[in-house]
Point group: C2
Chain length 526, copies 2
């Protein structure tokens, strides 16, 4: 493996993202995923600055056994006019028990004078004193030189003086931060190369994506000699986010041939990126490089016909290298070639079935016009394809009617109650289910109604539910698309429903989800 | 203005994105936005390849009057073994009436042989013949050299021969395409520089974002001498998308000082990016550089206190240059400084009100723990802040109860009916509303109930409705967060509701939306 630090700051800088809130349990969870991925350092937070981060480090000492990564605590240099050893914030860094302490320090003259409101000399003293103290206490000390690139352009000598001071006081790494994210790669490369001459510390890079170049900037820094790269999983971070660590690592390893993490760990990248987005509750970005759901998905008819011949002609790397997968998308652009490929994925050999393929293409086009999407709902597509192949739609039960009532009295919590009437296994059933929402109540009533004829449904669980309003210009008057993910404990599948009414759209997706679940288990229609 | 082509392919390559479906009307709409933005060329689609694109060009000739942009039709070189003048697909390009025709051609030996299944010589003949024919018919001809970078690495001489052939036959631009998106900036720069020596045409660049470097790759190509840049709005496109044209243009103009579009047009960038995402119905990506909702949003308490002193220290460019705005986020990381700044934004001078500020911080932290987010719901935050300042929550009416019934019989379309009981203007009102969904029905019933006391509500319209399940691991058992956008015709505001029940969460957001609407108009409580 190359001697390059992969330094993850998802738990600290990533958590600055709008809408992202991590509990202590979330942080521990993410740290375990990061360790599994094989990052070298996990920046856990700022102990002393907020109780959550203090608690994280306390729990981490007891509960978190890291196999690969080293834990880092983030904090600031001592306050102006004090002594590091007496600064309670500096002491909190020691108390965190983290083997690495990463100190943020000002390296831009205007920031020292205007934001920190101290002298340039005192700022250097703060760096020297704090680094030396923590180093003396046996910690590995890294320094984040905040606003370094802007600072270098404003006053190069002072910016370099901060690096030298930190290195001389014992800092092992000095990370150059493009804090405001305004740099472009050539500039980053030049500044890193010049800074390398001015310090004996290992140089690191910390980029934000405000120019859309966080990844390229990180690579430019590495090319210029930086050997420590900071970033976050899924590019989480304030404003436009930080450099996406998985993209940077994948580029270094798969494009530039630098072995950074063991191959089998990189193959976990997609799974871990998604697992972390489950914890952060930030929906995964489908267009994310390497690990995005769409990253190796092909829709164009033009491509689909050629992919049948040689997949490598149309992908920049093997998706398996990052644990992702090529997918053929079924969409109204799909020609027969895509449907045939998709059918093959699902176990149907449709080669030569020209008429059937055309019928499916027409059907898909028609449904997509009405708001359906099969890109994201493989199970619904398989039911559709199966219906065309078999000549009739698979139906385990006949629905007579359903109804949901949601009400709230005296500002009390709302309650939903659903009634479903259907015929299954030869018997008419009327079942009622309660729930904390209309879809939940319907789901309960439907399972209740089917439990006699199909006890196998017991295993199924509705695990995700997504709603998309398809014509936002008309608000609730618009068509609603609901995607539902159902799990049987070992695998899961997505189904789709579209209707003007959100409850009806959910019902359609629920019925498909249950039907597909029974089909997967090979249950016959009773 | 610099003599650089800004070539937009949102309507063609952008439309290859997973889940993106554009009608002809959508395409015309987007073309108007692009023209307003000031792009030089708008690639409208592939006439002849699908009826939608043929219709787009037919309608564009009649209905689309472009003030800045030139329309381009995309198509392929003639089929092997035919004559361009007789190829119906080539004729369709002529018939489109577009002044520019952009031909895609193979420039990678393996693609010629494996995907196109013809000889290298015939591929060159196809390029020569098709370019010459269209050029002879008075069209400006651009050539997209597909898979150029991979092709150049596989067989440099042949790739360059394709460029030369196109230029000699009359192509004005040859765009080098990183079709599979696997390139990194230094490589792109090198290949463009070498290709420049090998052709007399203007060189263009077309990048995809598979390595997260589409923007940096485009800039590297321009630095190396390319004078034609292709991309899409919001980076739409297959897999990880195309180069985001607005990011590329903003970088060139604001970072590298190349005047590409008039300043006042760039100031429309944020508005137009969002308007186009309304048409495509792809939710805007909040972390998008320059134009994203979070692009200039600050959450960190550390930053907030310094931003009060000098905003420029914490932003890489003036957000107004792209029509965006700095925002202070209210979140559980917010210290009193952020709340004070946010209050100032809303017209409250809270400086010195330490106790009040602490109370608001506590309240926000508590609500965010329960799933609320005020990042995206300014109006709800303002109501909360107002309640703390005034000592009581603004209430135009007192709700007694509400109920919604949704039902479906005999597989018919579902119908929702809501009943709301409340006291407003001194009178108890019971009102019923129907709708095509529970929230729509509640919205109608609520307005109906309030119409006597507050006829001003007539102007308000619910224009957007978003649902987020907060703990996806439990599906419909989870807490639901609903964001509602309400408009009074000239402006709009967002409110938030959180509850286990989606209908209740919607109700909370609806009530806030209506309350804020009345407050904005200065209506007194009756």
């Amino acid at each position: 493996m190359t001697d390059l630090h992969v330094y993850d700051t998802t738990l600290r800088d990533g958590a600055q993202q709008e809408g992202l809130n991590l509990s202590v349990a979330d942080k521990l969870d993410i740290a375990r995923h990061l360790d599994e991925l094989g990052v070298g350092f996990i920046e856990g937070g700022w102990p002393g600055a907020n109780p959550k981060d203090t608690e994280f480090f306390a729990l981490a000492q007891r509960e978190l056994s890291l196999r690969n990564a080293t834990l880092a605590a983030f904090g600031s240099t001592r306050r102006a006019g004090t002594v590091a050893a007496d600064d309670p914030m500096v002491r909190a860094l020691l108390d965190s028990g983290a083997p690495v302490v990463t100190l943020v320090a000002k390296s831009h003259v205007r920031h020292v004078e205007t934001a920190l409101r101290t002298t340039l000399a005192e700022n250097l003293a703060m760096v020297r004193d704090t680094v030396a103290f923590l180093h003396g206490e046996g910690r590995r000390v890294f320094l984040d030189a905040e606003h370094f690139f802007d600072g270098y352009l404003a006053d190069r000598d002072y910016a370099l003086e901060v690096l030298r001071t930190a290195a001389e006081a014992g800092a092992e790494v000095v990370a150059l931060c493009d804090t405001n994210g305004g740099m472009l790669p050539p500039q980053v490369g030049d500044v890193v190369a010049e800074a390398l001459a001015g310090t004996q510390a290992r140089l690191g890079i910390h980029c934000h994506n405000d120019t859309g170049c966080a990844v390229a900037n990180s690579l430019a820094a590495v090319a210029a000699g930086a050997t420590h790269v900071q970033g976050t999983i899924n590019g989480y971070g304030e404003r436009t986010g930080n450099a996406d660590l998985l993209t940077v690592v994948s580029n270094l390893q798969l494009k530039l041939g630098q072995p950074i993490v063991p191959e089998q760990r990189l193959r976990e990248a997609t799974r871990i990126a998604h697992a972390i987005s489950e914890v952060t509750n930030v929906p995964p970005y489908s267009r994310q490089p390497y690990v995005g759901a769409s990253a190796f998905a092909h829709k164009a008819g033009l491509h689909a016909s050629a992919i049948r011949i040689d997949a490598d002609l149309y992908q920049h790397t093997d998706p398996m290298a990052v644990g992702n997968d090529m997918r053929m998308l079924v969409s109204d652009m799909a020609g027969r070639a895509s449907i045939e490929l998709k059918g093959r994925e699902l176990g149907y050999d449709l080669s030569g079935e020209t008429e059937l393929l055309s019928r499916v293409v027409e059907k898909v086009k028609d449904l997509e016009l009405r708001g359906y999407t099969f890109d994201a709902a493989d199970a619904s597509f398989e039911l559709l394809l199966r219906a065309e192949v078999e000549g009739e739609r698979l139906s385990y039960f006949d629905v007579e009617s359903w109804r949901v009532i949601t009400d709230s009295r005296d500002a009390g919590e709302a309650v939903s109650e659903a009634t479903v009437k259907l015929v299954a296994g030869g018997a008419r059933v009327v079942a009622t289910g309660e729930g904390n929402g209309p879809v939940n109540a319907l789901d309960h009533a439907l399972r209740q109604a089917l439990s006699g004829a199909y006890p196998e449904l017991d295993k199924l669980e509705l695990i995700d539910f997504r709603v998309r309003i398809l014509d936002a210009a008309h608000g609730t008057d618009a068509v609603t698309r609901v995607l539902i993910e159902t799990s049987d404990g070992s695998t899961s599948w997505e189904t789709v429903g579209v209707a003007p009414n959100i409850v009806e759209a959910s019902w359609i997706a629920l019925v498909d989800g249950v039907t597909y679940g029974l089909l997967r288990q090979g249950i016959p229609v009773r």
